[in-house]
């Protein structure tokens, strides 16, 4: 048997090949007729005003920060979820403490208004 990670690499190569082959086929047979009007950003036919790299709402940044915290915490609980039945009540109670701390963080963010949109 091949090592599992070789399969993963192979499937990534397969995916890149699939997308690349589609692009290459299209590149070979598609017409080329660029013009200044075609290259302009689409704004429903209006004359474009300014650059698109505009300021965006700070909320997006806050949500991303909260997500990173939760995502990492969930990753910590995955190994626990696999084996906790063999470890009994002690492992369960430890995870209760962990999740309560996590929930307190959510409550704090909630009270501070980090979850309010607009």
């Amino acid at each position: 048997m091949l090592p599992d990670y070789l399969n993963i690499i192979f499937f990534f190569i397969l995916g890149i090949f699939f997308v690349g082959a589609a692009f290459a086929t299209s590149w070979l047979i598609r017409p080329r007729a660029p013009s200044a009007a075609k290259g302009a950003p689409y704004e429903c036919g209006e004359v474009i005003k300014g650059n698109s790299r505009v300021q965006f709402n700070i909320r997006f940044y806050l949500v991303t920060l909260i997500f990173v915290i939760f995502d990492v915490e969930i990753l910590f609980t995955v190994p626990w979820a696999v084996v906790f039945r063999q470890m009994g009540m002690a492992a369960y109670l430890e995870m209760v403490v962990f999740i309560v701390v996590l929930a307190l963080g959510l409550v704090y963010a909630w009270k501070k208004g980090a979850l309010e949109w607009l």
Partner: protein, 323 residues
């Protein structure tokens, strides 16, 4: 089968089969979606190309192949060009450990479900790169919204998957199916809650109505893929439907017993369950209106996340008490 090159050859054959299934399945789903939406809106849908328009998607593919590639002048060209890869490649890779039947799985990784969850969340990078790289205000807004939505719903999604991992005691996809031989997981009340949370969050993950804020066409034209044309656009489209299949396949495997069924062949059962869930999601898409951005974010963080945290604790308690 002890020779490495035989195993490699076998892997290549499996990979080609998966690619063929990937493409045909996505085309079938697009056709099905058009037919379902037509039926719900009391129309006929595509009827001209082939019987009941079944060849429509082949015609569409040829058309998209022949389309000119329009690059926005001020686009961040490299990021813009790379984005379709980031969206489509993970969806192909995720097919690696989808168990079609007891033996039809390319590789039953011992971290199967974790692999699928992590690989499919790579798509958010592609979506954001597309939004940023296009140099279009609609694309930027769509990309930002989409990124915020996908990462917000990732949390309840992973927590509901965690409930299944606790019940099964394994991360391997086949292991999870085998753990359900005594009874499908969704029959337990706590896992049923997790199933509902999973379905809602997964719908949001693939940007489908009622959570299609990133592509809200009445406000944002087409969201992050406004500036894409031809084959690049179709990669986004293909990935969307491949993702729909993947989330339904994962739902069928985790909650509905995967390929288990009263009689063989088991792959038929698996596909029945998967297309059942897909049919349900299509029905939902053409029935419900779109929710607002603030409602959607509040729903993820203030309702789904607390409920799924409590659900994890309750599941742990039930399992520990049972021993």
């Amino acid at each position: 089968m002890n020779y490495p090159w035989m195993a490699l050859l076998f892997l290549v054959v499996k990979g080609v089969c998966i690619l063929a299934f990937f493409a045909v399945n996505a085309m079938f789903l697009i056709w099905l979606e058009r037919k379902v939406s037509a039926k719900i809106q009391n129309r006929l849908g595509p009827m001209v190309t082939g019987p009941h328009g079944s060849l429509q998607l082949i015609a569409d593919t040829v058309k998209l192949l022949l389309k000119e590639n329009i690059v926005p002048t001020e686009a961040d060209r490299f990021v813009w060009w790379l984005a379709p890869f980031f969206v489509a490649v993970p969806t192909v890779a995720a097919f690696l450990c989808i168990p079609f039947s007891a033996t039809w799985i390319v590789s039953d990784l011992n971290v199967g479900i974790l692999f699928i969850c992590s690989i499919t969340s790579l798509c958010v990078l592609g979506v954001f790169m597309a939004g940023w790289g296009s140099n279009n205000k609609y694309s930027l807004l769509g990309g930002m919204r989409s990124a915020a939505q996908i990462i917000s719903y990732e949390v309840p999604l992973l927590l509901s998957v965690l409930v299944v991992i606790m019940e099964a005691g394994t991360l391997s996809m086949q292991g999870i199916v085998h753990a359900q031989e005594v009874g499908w997981f969704f029959l337990k009340p706590n896992v049923l809650v997790a199933f509902l949370i999973y379905l809602i969050s997964a719908t949001a993950e693939v940007n489908r109505v009622p959570f299609d804020i990133p592509e809200a066409e009445s406000e944002l034209v087409s969201g992050y893929h406004t500036e894409y044309s031809g084959m690049k656009f179709s990669m986004f489209f293909l990935a969307e439907y491949a993702n729909l299949f993947i989330i339904s396949a994962v739902a069928a495997t985790l909650f509905l017993g995967g390929w288990l069924g009263p009689w063989r062949p088991s792959a038929v059962w698996f596909l029945l369950k998967v297309y059942g869930i897909i049919g349900f999601l299509m029905w939902v898409r053409w029935t419900l209106p779109r929710v607002r951005m603030d409602q959607m974010m509040a729903f993820a963080w203030k309702i789904l996340t607390p409920v799924s945290l409590i659900n994890v604790l309750v599941t742990g308690w039930l399992l520990v008490i049972k021993g």
